[in-house]
Symmetry: C2
C-alpha cells in the first residue's frame, strides 16, 4: 500500500538534508551528522488518507517527515478517537512507542507525504556510540512531552476561542520556521480534525472561524487562512503581544 523507496547512493542524506535543523541531526557536528546517513536506508511514500503505522504495530522504526503532513490518533475501545498531534516536515513521529516497543498511536497522512525510515535497532545502537545523537533523542522526546503538556493546558484551562487562536498561532510559527509565510497558509486538516484535536465539534470550529473573520482578525477561504491581526490573535490566545 505504502511505497517503499530504497535510497540510491546519490540521494539526499541526513547530512545534506535541509530539514536537519528540525530533525534528528539538530545540533550535531558535521561528522556526527554524517554517521546519521547510514541510519536511513529507505523512505516511504504515504498517500493522503493512508496510515503509516497503526496503534499496536510492532515498533520497528520511527519516521522523520521529509515532506507532507501527518496526524497521530489515539483510539478508544468505544470507537471514539482523539488526534494528539499534527506533524510537519522535519518532525519525528513514532517516539511515543519507545516504552512498549509497539506504536502507541496511529499515524495518518493528511496529504501525500514521504518519510525517512529510521530503524530503532540501528538508532539505539548508534545512540550508544554517539552521545550527541543520544542527547538529541532526549531533546526530541522531551520536546514532545512539553508539547503535549501545552495541549493539556489548552484543553484543560482554555475556552474554545482561545484554543483555536493558540492552534493557529502555533501552526503559523511552525510554518514560518520552515520558510513559509506566517500569515497566509493552507490548512491540511478539516474542521472536524481541528475540532477533534481541540476538544470541540466541527460546528463550533466553523463558527469560531466565522467570528474571528467578522472581528477582522483573519480571513478564510475554504482551508486557506490569512491572519490579518497577529497581535489581536495573540491577545485572544492569552499570549504576550
Amino acid at each position: 500500500m505504502n511505497k517503499r523507496i530504497p535510497l540510491a547512493s546519490d540521494s539526499v542524506r541526513c547530512s545534506t538534508c535541509g530539514l536537519g535543523q528540525f530533525c534528528l541531526p539538530v545540533g550535531m557536528e558535521a561528522d556526527d551528522a554524517g554517521r546519521m546517513d547510514e541510519l536511513v536506508q529507505e523512505r516511504i511514500r504515504v498517500a493522503k488518507g493512508q496510515a503509516l503505522f497503526h496503534v499496536g504495530d510492532g515498533l520497528e522504526a520511527v519516521y522523520g517527515i521529509r515532506f507532507g503532513t501527518l496526524k497521530t490518533v489515539l483510539e478508544r475501545a468505544d470507537g471514539r478517537q482523539q488526534i494528539t498531534g499534527f506533524h510537519l516536515a522535519g518532525e519525528i513521529v513514532g517516539l511515543d512507542g519507545l516504552a512498549r516497543t509497539a506504536h502507541a498511536s496511529t499515524a495518518v497522512a493528511l496529504e501525500d507525504s514521504e518519510v525517512c525510515v529510521i530503524p530503532v535497532r540501528d538508532l539505539s545502537s548508534l545512540a550508544g556510540h554517539l552521545p550527541s545523537l543520544q542527547r538529541q533523542l532526549m531533546r526530541l522526546m522531551s520536546r514532545e512531552i512539553e508539547h503535549d503538556q501545552q495541549m493539556l493546558l489548552s484543553l484543560g484551562a482554555m475556552r474554545a476561542e482561545e484554543r483555536l487562536a493558540v492552534f493557529l498561532l502555533n501552526l503559523s510559527e511552525r510554518l514560518a520556521a520552515r520558510g513559509y509565510s506566517a500569515s497566509t497558509f493552507v490548512l491540511r486538516m478539516s474542521r472536524e480534525e481541528i475540532g477533534n484535536f481541540l476538544g470541540l465539534t466541527l460546528e463550533t470550529v466553523s463558527r469560531l472561524f466565522s467570528r474571528l473573520s467578522r472581528a477582522q482578525l483573519l480571513r478564510t477561504r475554504q482551508r486557506e487562512v490569512e491572519i490579518l491581526d497577529m497581535a489581536g490573535l495573540r491577545r485572544i490566545a492569552g499570549l504576550p503581544c
Copy 2:
C-alpha cells in the same frame, strides 16, 4: 527551605531500593543497577506545599520520588495554571526539562516528601556508557508522553463524569502497584487540584463525588475514598470491565 540530606554510606541505595521496579533501575541487571548507586549522592526533603523546583529553573537534576506525592504545574502569563500530573513514589519528575536544560514545569509537594537527586550531568555521561540505562530513560520519557496523550484523550473527548472515573481508576492502579489497597485510599490532593487537573471546577468535582456516592459506586469521607463497585466505575470510564 528544602532540606538536603547527603547520603551516608550505609543508606539505602538504588540497588537495594524497593522502588526499583518503578524508578530508574527498572529492567536492569544487578551489576548495572549497582552503577546507579554512584549517581545518587543526596536526597531532598520537601515539606508539604513547598516547591522542589520552579518553571525556568536551570535543570541541574531530575528527581526520583522516595516517598510522598508531588504535583507538576504549568503557569501561564495571565496567572492561570494547569496541573499536568500527580506523581507517586518511584516516579521521576523533571524529565520534561531535558529539551531546554531548564525546568518546563513547577513541582510542588502535596505532602511531606523526599526525593533522590539525580544530577543530569552524571546521568548523561553514565547513560553514554550504560545502554540499559539509556533504554530505561527513553522508556520513562516515552511513558510520560503516553500518559500525557491519555490525558489529552481524557480532556478532549470525555465528559466530566468519565474523567473523574478515569482519574480514580488510574490512581487506584498506581497505588495497587505499590502495594496499597486498590479500593480504599486517601487523596493527597484537594477537590480544586483534581478539578484543575481534569479541566473542571472544584464544585463540579464535588458534585460528581456526591453523584457517584449516591449511585453506590464509591463512598467518600473527606479525602478518603472507598471504591465499592470497580466494574461500575470502569463502565463509566469507558474501559473494559
